[in-house]
Amino acid sequence: MAEHVLDAKGLNCPLPILKAKKSLKAMATGDTLKIESTDPGSVADFAAFARQTGNELLSSESEGDIYKFEIKKA
């Protein structure tokens, strides 16, 4: 299973989600996507994104001003 990385730092709503969606589209089922964002709103949005699309949010954590997510493509 491949691991993909998306740097969404400096981008504001809804760009981190739009870029994540684009990355996921090009990935295979079971692949994971690691995302880094600086948008505090993306914490709630990636959780909702995972619920609504069925992709699994493996982790959601913050480190200083950076928010880190890991999504597994369903």
Binding site: P14, T53, G54
Partner: protein, 166 residues
């Protein structure tokens, strides 16, 4: 409490009626985000909302009659008194200021959001009646726009799970 299970609604319709730079955001942000959730999205553009479909986007903000709009000035956020807003050039200045803020804060441009909407197959319908009323030609609008009337909008709304009017 919201139902947090995976109850993905399948359709969204948005009626966009406003044609200023600031009010261009809500419809395009919601349309592109819903498309990212694999929803089927239709946008119906009527009255000033038609401006959002022009090939050459020249959107502006106006602080006139908009006391909620506060711009960073002199180290704080200030609303512009209406009497100042009436001076020629003030709206142009406010528009430049807003565009700079948009860039600085990492907010997408309307051009980019609209392109994202087109790329994710958001259906866009222009109101035929307002096109006639404002003498806007279909050639003035971006490619792929359909024309339709109120019944077209209502039919889409009837089939959608979420309907917004903006």
């Amino acid at each position: 409490m919201l139902d947090e299970s995976n109850s993905n609604a399948k359709g969204m319709s948005i009626i966009a009626t406003k044609g200023t730079l600031d009010w261009a955001y809500p419809p395009f942000i919601l349309a592109t985000s819903a498309a990212a959730l694999d929803m089927e999205v239709t946008m119906f553009f009527t009255f000033y909302g038609l401006n959002l479909l022009r090939k050459d986007l020249d959107l502006k903000v106006s602080s006139l009659g908009n006391p909620g709009m506060k711009m960073p000035m002199m180290g704080m956020h200030m609303a512009m008194p209406n009497i100042i807003s009436t001076i020629p050039g003030v709206d142009r200045g406010a528009t430049t200021m807003m565009k700079n803020l948009i860039k600085k804060k990492g907010v997408a441009s309307i051009e980019d959001l609209r392109e994202a909407a087109v790329e994710s197959d958001v259906r866009m319908i222009a109101c035929q009646m307002t096109l006639d009323l404002f003498e806007i030609k279909k050639e003035d609008l971006i490619d792929g726009v359909e024309l339709g009337g109120a019944v077209t909008a209502i039919e889409v709304a009837c089939k959608s799970d979420v309907n917004y009017y903006m």
